[in-house]
């Protein structure tokens, strides 16, 4: 780890690979014969980071930005939905993604309209996507809103969300001008606490496909209470604290270390015959613990 500054990043996979000459200075644990160094580069990111971090005490590392507590709560909920208590991915839901990243905006420019009739929030958001690797392919991108309303709102809410992508004219410009935009019309019912996912996949796809590192968006959110079907005129602006949205990316990581659900299912289907195995543990691939001996089960 103390030789971290000698390590260069392998652009294609985002792994850290020691340059040729520096290997001898690496921690003996990490010194692999040249033929295996390629193997090291393939270590799962988690293990690579574990082995790097394992040799550092936590305090000496550069301060880590703490995630937003709401975002953390959302991702813990997603984890519970996607994995068993032992941490094994659930196979019953057919999600294709094997990676989900949640980004909170790293800078924002607030514009608040003085128009009292509408509850309009306009905010420019900058998301930095450096952590997305070249092998993580976008499946879906969502703007994640958290509605913290002190009391449940009885009637549906109609919100118009206007999105526009901003291009920076010159470097360092914090609030650039808009380039192309799209408007969404949302109808939803807000209980006491609610997450609203605004699907922006088609809107962001071209940007993320070109591995754009910074996504600058202007989000204009206008919410009124009432149901458009019944009332022609929307009244009762909502006094609602609107937290700037987070950006949620559902990705398919095609690297070898990532779990490829369909591959393993196919593999299992192809090899139904299992070697007889004497296990004191009786652990099945799903992680649930069997009881009794394999022989008994076979009988």
């Amino acid at each position: 780890p103390h030789s971290r500054d000698h390590v260069v990043s392998d652009e294609t996979s985002g792994f850290l690979v020691a340059p040729e000459g520096a290997a001898s200075e690496l921690n003996p644990l990490l010194q692999l014969p040249k033929s295996m160094r390629r193997g090291y580069a393939l270590l799962p990111p988690l293990l690579k980071v574990l082995s790097d971090r394992g040799n550092q005490d936590w305090g000496s590392e550069a301060p880590r930005l703490q995630p937003d507590s709401r975002a953390l709560r959302y991702m813990k909920r997603l984890y519970k939905m996607s994995a068993t208590k032992e941490g094994i991915p659930k196979d019953n839901n057919s999600h294709l993604y094997n990676t989900v990243r949640l980004f909170t905006p790293c800078s924002e420019c607030k514009h608040r309209h003085r128009d009292l009739k509408k509850d309009v929030h306009s905010v420019d958001l900058l998301f930095n996507l450096d952590r997305v690797t070249a092998l993580e392919h976008l499946l879906k991108s969502v703007l994640l809103y958290s509605f913290d309303t002190p009391a449940p709102i009885p009637s549906p809410i109609v919100c118009v969300c206007r999105l526009s992508v901003k291009e920076q004219e010159f470097s360092g410009q914090v609030c650039p001008s808009a380039s192309h935009s799209v408007a969404f019309r949302l109808h939803f019912q807000v209980r006491k606490r609610k997450w609203v996912e605004v699907d922006v996949t088609s809107f962001l796809q071209p940007l993320i496909a070109t591995h754009r590192r910074d996504i600058h968006m202007a989000v204009n959110f206008t919410c009124l209470m009432g149901d458009p079907q019944h009332t022609t005129k929307l009244e009762n602006p909502i006094n609602m604290a609107l937290v700037p949205p987070s950006l949620l990316l559902y990705l398919n990581d095609t690297s070898e270390q990532a779990y490829h659900r369909w591959n393993s299912l196919r593999h299992r289907r192809r090899n139904p015959a299992r070697p007889r195995q004497r296990n004191s543990l009786r652990v099945s691939p799903m992680g649930d613990r069997g009881t009794g001996s394999t022989q008994g089960k076979r009988a």
Binding site: P45, L46, G87
Partner: protein, 135 residues
């Protein structure tokens, strides 16, 4: 068998030979043979729980034990394993005997905080050993 049992009683009266299930187990499953062993750790032990949010515990398991001389039918080992055993016994003992290694794995879902404060949920392949084999 009666005579042997009598002698046995004289020597070690504590385990009555008529405990068939124990006898059966000892005969069919020799002790210390290759098998899966439980190993469970928690990331807080490693002080990694500040950035590994879930799971709290991780059971990678491990394989340990002797590989019997004729392994094929029991561990699903390839024929090569038996050949390697013969090489070790008959031709060159510097060639190692087959080893007890994992044969199948389960994936693991991990929720971590990235250095930039973003949060990532990722499913990793082959993180929990579920079956052992000799090869």
């Amino acid at each position: 068998a009666r005579q042997r049992r009598d002698e046995h009683l004289k020597e070690a009266p504590a385990t009555p030979p008529y405990n068939l299930s124990d006898y059966f187990k000892r005969f069919l499953f020799p002790q210390n043979e290759c098998e899966l062993h439980n190993f469970r750790l928690s990331f807080s032990q490693l002080k990694w729980d500040r950035w590994i949010i879930a799971p709290h515990r991780y059971s990678p398991q491990y394989c340990k034990g002797d590989c019997p001389r004729v392994v094929g039918h029991r561990y699903g080992s390839p024929v090569h394993t038996m050949v390697q055993n013969i090489i070790y016994e008959k031709l060159d003992s510097s060639v190692p005997k087959p080893s007890c290694v994992p044969a199948e794995y389960s994936p693991l879902s991990v929720l971590t905080i990235e250095p930039d404060g973003s949060i990532v949920y990722k499913e990793y392949e082959d993180m929990i050993a579920t079956k052992c084999t000799c090869r």
